[in-house]
Amino acid sequence: MATSDPKPAASAAPEARFTVSPLTLAVDRWMGRLIRFGGVGVVLAVFGMLAFLIFQVFPLFVGAKVSPASALVVPVDAVAFGEDEYGELPFVVRRDGSILCLRASDGAKVMEWTPSLGARRVTAVRSYPRTGLVFLGLSDGSVQEVRIAYRSTFDDAGRRTVEPVVTALEPVAIGRAGLPCQDVWNAKGPQSRLMLVRQDDAGRPLLTAVRLTERKGLGGRGKVTVSPSFVVAADASSVEQVLLPSTAESMIVVGRSGEVRTYADDGETFSFLQSFIPFKDAADPAVASAGLIFGNVSVVFVDKAGAQQVWSMYPQLQPDGKSLRRWGKIHDGEKLPGAGQGVYAAESNKCYLADAAGRLRLTNMTTGTVRWDGEAPSGTLLQVAFAGNYDRFTALSADGKLHRWSVVDHHPESSWKTFFGKVWYEGATGPAYSWQSSAGSDEFEPKYSLVPLFYGTVKGTFYALLFALPIALTAAVYVSQFLRPEYRQVVKPVMEVMASLPSVVLGFLAGLWLAPLVDPRLVSLFCAIGILAPAALFAGVLWSMLPQPVRRQVRPGMEFLWLLPFLALCVWGAWQAGPAIESLCFTVKDSATGVPIADFREWWRQTTGETYDSRNSLVVGFVMGFAVIPIVFTIAEDALSNVPNALVSGSLALGASRWQTVWSVVVPTAISGIVSAVMIGFGRAIGETMIVVMATGNTAVMDANPFSGMRTLSANIAVELPEAAAGHTHYRALFLGACCLFLLTFVINTLAEVLRQRLRERYKVV
């Protein structure tokens, strides 16, 4: 195509100098493609960044995926079950106490065991599925413990085979001799093991317990001593359900009328602690079922109408003024779709499965979020157990089936409420916004409320702007309107240098130099800052009262040079006067010695009852000024100096003074540019990280006290993300924080940009 002449009229071949080399055209085409590809690619990458952040956060707001995995046919008289860690070889316990172990993959029988008890019969069965412990309550009031252990062996090819091993221990006499056991429980406390049986003593429930203490010998198993049996909860008139925490520290007895009685281990026996009726106001106050949540300090109650309540132990103020840990309602759960029949807790988090007449519902106790809602199998569920790592749960139904569901729920504790709502966490005295991502114990529930971080961000930004805006805006007005142009060429680069100061340097100076420096001279500092504005104004007034020949000495645009020594003098004076003012106004009695001292910090603590930290919001605000001032200054100065000259000249020609021109013509014209500058400064202050990390205590508190620190979204990410495990809730919660920061700054900056564009249009019209 390069050689063809566009004009058909020309018959001869075009002169060589008019032909374009095909290489040139090819290069042009290829470079065009490359640039298009690169340009579009980069633009897409920029948007991809936001997409990636959202993609990382998205799993936090997805519910649990629960799907039925298998159903194993077991004898219809099976009443309890258990399984190994991987769920390969579940076993069921039949009503007569015999144990049948099956292979989960094909239902084949692996092992069968029958108790040999002579004349005694098995009258009660309890299995603890995770530990492989089965307790058989016998007809004479004694209990036999059966342990099912799984032994793994590896053959030469490295294949693993697992076989169950049953060990039956000698029965232990617990209950009143002769009365058959109706139910049996077991729990392992820190010192001893507790075994509890329920019997029926002529229509009255009888709960009897023993403690088993194992003294570890030097080699092999220790000797187990059994304490004399003791009656517990003798004052309970009826016993529907007994909840025994796995730590055996307390006991909860649910009575027929819906009354719940709690008991605490007092070392000897269990003493009565508190009684309450959860569904006091309902038509039928009876508790249909109750379940202890992982962590052993919260109980979920459901009633026959499907109402749910969560009660927990937390410090409560008693009438005598003492604060004691007592049970109290912390949540009202969402109503179940049917009558409550059972509550089964997960073993590694605060979720529980509620069985509600044909429906199953997986709920997070803390936030009340429904993780999953699904169809229940046909038979009544006798027992449900979650796997230790929360990837499945298994249920035994009365029609002889062992159902299994697989669970995919990576972030059971997260929901909108977790991050943005007030949540009543276990052990807390009320609902609160709190961020606390880690602690020592496993049972600790991480708290991921972003609200305190937002609060800290806004607080830091507020103090930064409070300090920076007046300085930046007045400087912008002065530089753009009054300052002599030759000075302007110096001032603007200096401001740009200020913008380029690394924030880590600012943070270091704030935290390690400024904070300790101003700490003892706080009043001096306030005086020095407070004197500035009146002094400058005073200088101006004074100057305008001088006769004209004197005034002519100061050339317009040079005022600041004259102002400088005067202000320096005023600041020095105020700084020196600080201690005197401090002793005049802020003298308080030292709390330790009782001697009156002049100390603002102590005065602040005693007068307001608030804390005083040396790394506080004011220090942060001041130093963040270094980051905010130049950016606001530059943009505002641009907007002000680009105001069309005709407007200014017109105003001056009409006889307005230079200040009147600025105040009534220039500033109103450029106001959207100034607002835009403020917004961009706001955006900059929101995202500032290193200054906040280094110059505050980084505690996630929510108070407006100017003398305390804060934790901002950005500082939180910088401090915690290096330690967060990839993919975990903590990690994603930090990503959520980053996402919020991104969106917040992006929206603010876009608004500012739109304002500036409108301003430009306006200048064009003028």
Partner: protein
């Protein structure tokens, strides 16, 4: 505000003065901060006279004045001051720094025999020398006129021994260790895959390396045994005897005897150590070479990445893309990316570059490495490459905006003239637009570099460490190790200032590092401003 007694005073003049206040504070802040950093940073290397202070309670201390501040709890109207002395001799005093109530200092004298020592371990020492015990048993008392010459000669000899030792223990043994680690991973792989030949070869190699290791250790022992073991016998302030082996001494000076030229020389030597040496004593002493080098390499890489992409995008936006509402949105978005907090880029870098990209690279290219080296990631963890990429993404808008502005500033006539003479679009861009906007692009790149060099928050997430055992650039192939973690000046400031166990000892170092960082960043910025001003001047006359 009408304050006119004289009718000719224009209204509102007082407010004009008032608005000058903002400018004064702003300028004062910049100048004050720079002066503060300059003063504190530059005096770190200066050796002032060292006093012997007599304290009320009978204590005598020898130390360099470090700080002076108001005593905590002293009444605000009658502040009492206290002084901090750097007394050194941490092994004896427990702490190198000591606060003394100023009111309790009876007097200070500056005896000429005070000797300052900078030591390899336990920080500096200020002592009164007694005698020099040479390796051959000869003892030269301090009163001997030959003492000083002999002492300095012995210090120099000991330094040579120490350097030899460092060469052996750190570099040569380090190389052997690195080779050993590599061979062990290869051996594990070979054993797993049952490659008998390779196993044998690798076992042989490891045996050989073991032999070399032992030989080097022997060599090190010989150096120690054969070298000078002269030591300095001296007394501390309390009169306790302090024996310092001279291999421990890096530098020795008589602070109260030095003339100005001597102090300048000492200043130069310390500054040289600061810039060219490796850190010692948990980064609180020694030099900053790895951090300077790391910052430099990272910044250069970042600019190599950001320049082509930024320029191509700007050319696309300005010259190729359809101008319209869509493009305006894109342009605003790109501009606004500059306002997105840097930590967000760090989060993105960690989530995408490190875990997604790095993790995939490891799976694809370093599967063996992962399998046989305890799942130690290569690229799936923070490193130089990811830091450069993250900062490149962060500074991309700076370059795009600068380039776009520069392109827009090229007069339309030049463009049209070029096209009219028959140049293709690309030729116009290459020969007219890019050369004309080169200063503008350079300004953008320099600003990006300044921002990148000073940024810390995102780097904390994607690969900066407080102490990197190796530089990202060394003699082993492939010479440039993009996967390595590195040290950075900004992070050094953060780490020393906030994570250092001995904050007093770290303080001078932080100020020095701060000064260096600020000088670097300010110079880059001033360079950019200078180029921009020249650019403006050039285009002033170029409008057609």
């Amino acid at each position: 505000m009408s304050a006119s007694s004289d009718s000719s005073t224009p209204r509102g003049e007082a407010w004009v003065w008032f608005s000058g206040l903002g400018l004064i504070i702003g300028l004062g802040m910049v100048v004050g901060l720079l002066a503060l950093v300059l003063m504190n940073g530059a005096t770190v290397f200066w050796a002032p006279p060292v006093p012997v202070a007599q304290v009320d309670d009978g204590r005598v201390l020898i130390g360099q004045l470090a700080q002076r501040r108001i005593r905590a709890g002293s009444p605000a109207d009658q502040p009492r001051f206290e002084r901090q002395y750097q007394v050194g001799l941490r092994e004896l005093n427990g702490n190198s720094y000591l606060w003394v109530d100023e009111a309790k200092i009876k007097g200070e004298t500056f005896p000429a025999d005070i000797l300052g020592l900078e030591r390899v371990e336990n920080g500096p020492a200020f002592v009164r020398p007694q005698s020099l015990r040479k390796s051959d048993g000869e003892v030269i008392p301090v009163t001997d006129p030959a003492f000083e010459a002999a002492f300095q000669a012995e210090v120099a000899a000991a330094a040579a021994v120490r350097e030899k030792l460092v060469e052996i223990t750190r570099h040569r043994i380090g190389d052997v260790n690195a080779a050993m680690d590599k061979a062990r991973v290869a051996l594990r792989r070979a054993e797993d895959l049952k490659l008998a030949d390779e196993v044998a070869a690798l076992q042989k190699e490891i045996a050989g390396l073991d032999g070399r290791f032992a030989a080097l250790q022997d060599e090190a022992k010989q150096v120690v045994a054969g070298g000078a073991v002269a030591s300095l016998v001296s007394q501390d302030a309390a009169g306790r005897e302090v024996v310092v082996p001279l291999t421990q001494v890096i530098r020795a000076w008589f602070p109260n005897r030095l003339g100005t030229w001597g102090r300048v020389k000492l200043f130069g030597s310390r500054l040289g150590e600061f810039i060219f040496d490796e850190p010692r004593e948990a980064n609180t002493e020694g030099g900053l070479m790895p951090a300077i080098f790391g910052t430099l390499v990272m910044t250069v890489f970042m600019s190599l990445l950001v320049t082509p992409f930024g320029v191509i995008t700007a050319i696309y936006l300005r010259e190729y893309a359809q101008q319209g509402a869509g493009l305006r949105i894109v342009r605003i978005s790109v501009n606004n990316l500059a306002g997105v907090p840097s930590i967000v880029f760090g989060v993105f870098g960690l989530g995408f570059f490190v875990y997604v990209l790095g993790g995939s690279i490891d799976q694809l290219l370093f599967a063996d490495q992962l399998k046989y080296n305890n799942n130690t990631p290569v690229f799936g963890t923070g490193g130089l490459l990811w830091c450069s990429l993250t900062l490149a993404l962060m500074t991309l808008p700076v370059v795009i905006v600068a380039t776009e502005e520069a392109l827009a500033a090229v007069p339309r006539g030049m463009r049209e003239a070029s096209l009219a003479t028959g140049a293709s679009k690309w030729q116009t861009i290459r020969d007219i637009l890019l050369p004309a906007s080169a200063p503008g692009i350079l300004t953008g790149v320099i600003l990006a570099m300044a921002r990148g060099a000073g940024e810390v928050a995102p780097l904390m997430l994607v690969g900066v460490v407080k102490l990197a055992p190796t530089l990202p650039f060394d003699g082993t192939a492939p010479f440039l190790h993009m996967d390595r973690k590195f040290m950075h000046l900004g992070f050094h400031v953060y780490d020393l200032g906030f994570q250092s166990p001995d904050s007093d000892a770290a303080r001078p170092m932080v100020f020095a590092t701060t000064l260096l960082l600020i000088v670097l960043v300010v110079c880059l910025n001033l360079g950019a401003i200078w180029i921009r001003n020249r650019l403006r001047a050039r285009f002033k006359g170029a409008s057609f």
